[in-house]
């Protein structure tokens, strides 16, 4: 046991007061002349012994009352047993949730400020020599014996734009505590305990090795709107055609709330609308944007600030081209074979897709500057010469995109020779031609696309558009049977019902090649007549026209660049701002080079820049927050770990800290004992029998009843 305010123990000296008073009063009792002392002497013989015992008892009670009072004011605390861990001191690990939901604003400011205050109060109760660790999503967990330094560091902390969950942090804290020798180990979790972030099991939180204290920090506000998504509906952006984007707003609260949505392009507001997403629902709106200049643009969807400001903004980087050129190469005498493809790429009517289509024959491939085109379609034909083939390979290797439409009428041997492997670069085609399947005359041999890779951007775009597109209704009368060059990194994106690949992709140099195992005219398939044909082809073009790699990441995800090894520079740079430039070296794995720029830490855009051959390439990447972090659903900490201590506010935390750090405070008990002993002393001393009237009452008995009034 020790005392919080030992100065009050000096009050024990007051114990001498009742003793002295008792002795002095005994010596200096007031002398009262009295006529009937003989009765008192008669009583004295009876009660003298009892009176002495009573006087001693009163004296003891007075001394005890004073002693209890002094002890109670001195704050006695019962220190818990330090156990048998063989070491002294306390080790405390504080998991401080700094996800952006902790930035929720209420009348008292951001709840993170409250969490910081609670964490500070934990750190400040540590004694010199105690170890502490502060764990956040952005801090390396290391035990420190400098609690003051940690507290100072804590003051500079703010919420991160990340959406880290508590599970990894709690596990790291538990591991750290187990490795730290200490008599008392404490794990604190200071968080809003958002449902999605509370990926905790009771076994993670409760352990015989340490005490667990959950400190929920919550707000009374129940409103929050998030920009849940900002995505491009148009497959690509050009200065010619409108660019359509879709914004999804999520209302996390139980009531309908109106907020102004503003869309900006490079910080210039271009659209604004007041929106009312339904309670606990979403609302999607679309907008057409026009770009007057080519280059990288940043589209931002912004809401007015609400309870959680971090999820009110979302960015979408868009590469705007003056025009998107597509070269369709086909036999000059067979323009019908590319008719539907050309119409799909640019219908030339009310619909402006932004794609400019040029055509050429196989012989002219080497004559055109292919770098002017974003995509080259090789429609049921092959490069007419080695020069044309080399030009095509160079175009793709330098970042161009090629779509090979393998018509069933083509000669497999010639196909494989023209587009197969050469000595330097490997096969240009992602698959070798093995023959044909099906006939137009036999409907039973018709095939349809049954299996697609839903995660591939081509099909993902078709699925998430305003109207999902399904290619399964198209019938393919004759198909080209191909065998994917899996060793070369080819992968099947779609298959026919019979299992034959329908769409195969393979990276080639900096570019990509997609093989379509069917002709695209109505002699062999009715796909061109299907409504999904145009979106499908535009989705293919959109996918191929975009640079490979990451288009956008969430905070905390790695920023990476992947380039074929033979074309990769030694280093690449990342620009977050004019003053924040970092260069990283390439890491090679297989035939690819990787540039790891580390996890994205802040929202905004980052420009990745590298030299490729004789060109300076760049790409803008958006870093957005995870919109789900804006959810208002909270887990009940009491149910997460019923065995853990749960404190609801600073007062409870202070009481618990005092209890587990210093021990059980016995002040209340001692003060109560002081009161009880004082009451007992008062009762024993007859302090409550005040006044003459009360004392006179028993005297009625000896008096005789008054005589009746006599007659005169």
């Amino acid at each position: 046991m020790h005392f919080l305010h030992p100065a009050f123990l000096l009050g024990l000296a007051a114990l001498s007061v009742p003793i002295v008073i008792h002795m002095v009063f005994k010596m200096k009792a007031r002398v009262v002349p009295f006529p009937s002392v003989r009765f008192l002497q008669q009583v004295d013989r009876k009660v003298a012994k009892r009176q002495k015992i009573r006087e001693i008892l009163i004296l003891v009670l007075r001394c005890l009352a004073l002693a209890f009072l002094a002890l109670g004011l001195a704050g006695p605390v019962l220190k818990p047993s330090t156990g048998s861990l063989g070491s002294s001191g306390t080790a405390a690990a504080v998991v401080l949730d700094d996800s952006y939901s902790m930035g929720m604003l209420d009348a008292e400011g951001p709840i993170f400020a409250r969490a910081r205050g609670l964490t500070r109060s934990i750190l400040l109760t540590l004694q010199p020599g105690d170890a502490a660790c502060l764990l956040t999503s952005r801090r390396t967990p290391v035990m420190s014996r400098d609690a003051g330094g940690l507290a100072a560091e804590l003051e500079k902390m703010d919420v991160s734009p990340g959406a880290a969950t508590l599970g990894p942090l709690v596990k790291a804290a538990a591991d750290l505590l187990r490795r730290t020798p200490a008599a008392q180990r404490e794990l604190y979790v200071v968080s809003d305990f958002q449902q999605r972030a509370a990926d905790l099991q009771e076994a993670d939180l409760v352990s015989p090795d340490f005490s667990t204290i959950l400190v929920p920090v919550s707000s009374t506000r129940q409103d929050n709107l998030s920009v849940a998504a900002l995505e491009a509906l148009s497959p690509f952006a050009t200065t010619d055609a409108p660019f359509r984007v879709r914004v999804v707003l999520a209302n996390r609260g139980p009531g309908t709330v109106g907020r102004n949505l503003r869309i900006r392009v490079d910080d210039l507001a271009v659209a604004e609308q007041m929106l009312f997403p339904p309670a606990r629902g979403t609302l999607a709106v679309a907008a057409n944007l026009r770009f007057d200049r080519a280059g990288w643009k940043t589209v931002a969807a912004e809401l007015e600030n609400d309870s959680i400001p971090a999820d009110n903004r979302r960015l979408l980087p868009v590469q705007v081209r003056p025009q998107l050129g597509a070269l369709v190469c086909r036999e000059g005498t067979q323009s019908a074979r590319s008719y539907y493809l050309e119409k799909a790429l640019n219908p030339h009517g009310a619909v402006n897709t932004g794609v400019t289509v040029a055509t050429c024959g196989p012989a002219a491939l080497g004559e055109n500057d292919l770098s002017d085109f974003a995509v080259v379609f090789l429609v049921e034909c092959l490069p007419a010469s080695e020069a044309a083939g080399a030009a095509l390979r160079a175009y793709v290797a330098s970042g161009g995109s090629l779509v090979v439409v393998a018509g069933p009428g083509q000669d497999p041997k010639a196909f494989n020779e023209a587009l197969g492997a050469d000595d330097e670069t490997g096969p240009l085609s992602p698959a070798s031609f093995a023959g044909t399947s099906g006939t137009e005359q036999d409907p039973s041999s018709y095939q349809s696309i049954k299996e697609v890779d839903p995660r591939h951007p081509i099909f993902a775009r078709l699925r998430r558009g305003e109207t999902p597109i399904d290619l399964g209704s198209a019938a393919f009368y004759r198909i080209a049977r191909v065998e994917p060059a899996e060793r070369e990194g080819a992968r099947v994106l779609a298959r026919f019902g019979g299992g034959d690949p329908a769409l195969v992709e393979r990276p080639f140099g900096l570019g990509r090649v997609i093989l379509v195992a069917s002709a695209l005219h109505t002699d062999t398939t009715n796909l061109p007549h299907k409504p999904g044909f145009l979106p499908f082809m535009l989705s293919v073009v959109a996918y191929l026209a975009q640079p490979a790699g990451t288009a956008g990441v969430l905070v905390g995800e790695p920023l990476r660049l992947q380039i074929p090894r033979e074309r990769a520079p030694k280093s690449a740079r990342i620009f977050r701002s004019a003053s924040d430039v970092r260069e990283v070296a390439a890491e090679t794995s297989g035939n690819m080079a990787f540039f790891n720029f580390g996890p994205a830490e802040e929202t905004g855009t980052a420009t990745l820049e590298w030299s490729s051959a004789d060109r300076l390439e760049s790409r803008v990447v958006a870093v957005n927050v995870d919109p789900e972090e804006g959810s208002l659903e909270r887990a009940d900490p009491a149910k997460l770990a019923p065995a853990a201590h749960l404190v609801r506010d600073a007062r409870e935390l202070a009481a618990l800290l005092g209890k587990i750090r210093h021990g059980r405070n016995l002040s209340g008990w001692f003060l109560a004992l002081a009161l009880l002993t004082a009451l007992a002393e008062s009762v024993l001393s007859n302090r409550f029998a005040f006044g003459r009237a009360a004392a006179a009452a028993p005297a009625a008995s000896p008096a005789a009843p008054p005589a009746p009034p006599p007659a005169a």
């Binding site: 009063f25 009295f34 003989r38 008192l40």
Partner: protein, 296 residues
């Protein structure tokens, strides 16, 4: 009519030094509260007529006068005394207790008032003051001069010495041969056996005895609180007492003493009255008159 307790409460005795005057006030105030004309008795020698008042004894109604004049009268007579009374007042040191009025002062007022009342009713009254022994004795007479002598003795007396009431009563029983009335005013701080022996002696001589046991309110209630050392006024012996603890036992002891005295007096046909010095004089005078009426 106002009662004597309103005109002259016991506490006011301290303000009046003239005991003669106090006695007159007490008696006249008391009598006027009882009857319109107390100065005449109903004896054999006619004195005068008085208008009949409802409540008058019809034995004294003058029917002849009523028949002649159609007026109602009662006949009054000069009373003839045949009572010799002694007022025996304790003037021991223990009587010098009480605030603002001591038991002795209260007893003196009672003695003076009774004496005055007796003399007004043509009774002869004597006075005996005693402590360890009889310190003053005035034989009974029924004159106002005698009353003034008695008052002078009372005013001159000072409480002192121990109480020896038994010895005094024996002395009076031996001295006073003719039957009479003894009014004893004392706090009875003597040995009970001695007291009873004296009383028994008086009763043996056929005297009527009225005993006023005068105690101060503090003796009856024992209202003390602080630890005190009580010093006996007569013996000087001391005892240290925590009043809160002693009070119940003390009250029981003094109550037992009074009860035993009342019982023993009753057995001897002695009229015993416990008097608190805060009690008005009415009670004392009423007790006397009650006894006097029985004596005829």
């Amino acid at each position: 009519m106002r009662a004597i307790s309103e005109i002259l409460p016991p506490q006011s005795l301290a303000r009046f030094a003239n005991l003669d005057l106090v006695a007159r006030w007490i008696v006249e105030g008391f009598i006027s509260g009882l009857h319109a004309s107390p100065y005449h008795g109903f004896s054999v020698e006619f004195a005068e007529y008085r208008t009949y008042t409802p409540g008058d004894d019809l034995r004294h109604f003058d029917w002849k006068a009523y028949a002649k004049s159609d007026r109602t009268y009662v006949r009054l007579y000069h009373s003839e005394t045949n009572l010799r009374a002694h007022v025996v007042l304790d003037c021991s040191a223990s009587m010098d207790f009480g605030n603002p009025v001591t038991k002795f002062r209260y007893g003196s007022a009672i003695a003076a008032a009774l004496s005055y009342l007796m003399i007004q009713q043509q009774d002869a009254v004597g006075l005996a003051l005693f402590a360890e022994e009889t310190v003053r004795y005035l034989p009974p007479k029924a004159t106002l001069r005698h009353f003034r002598d008695m008052v002078a003795q009372l005013e001159a007396a000072r409480p002192a010495a121990r109480t020896r009431i038994g010895k005094t009563l024996h002395y009076l029983a031996e001295t006073v041969r003719k039957r009479g009335l003894f009014v004893i005013v004392s706090d009875l701080y003597d040995e009970p056996e001695a007291i009873l022996s004296g009383l028994r002696h008086l009763r043996f001589r056929k005297h009527e005895v009225i005993l006023f046991h005068v105690l101060d309110h503090d003796e009856l209630a024992f209202p003390y609180r602080a630890l005190s050392e009580f010093k006996d006024l007569e013996t000087g012996s001391r005892v240290q007492v925590a009043p809160a603890v002693y009070r119940p036992e003390y009250l029981k002891a003094i109550g037992d003493f009074a009860t035993s005295m009342r019982r023993d007096c009753s057995n001897m046909l002695v009229d015993y009255t416990l008097v608190d010095t805060e009690v008005p004089f009415d009670k004392v005078l009423a007790e006397y008159l009650f006894k006097r009426q029985r004596l005829g």
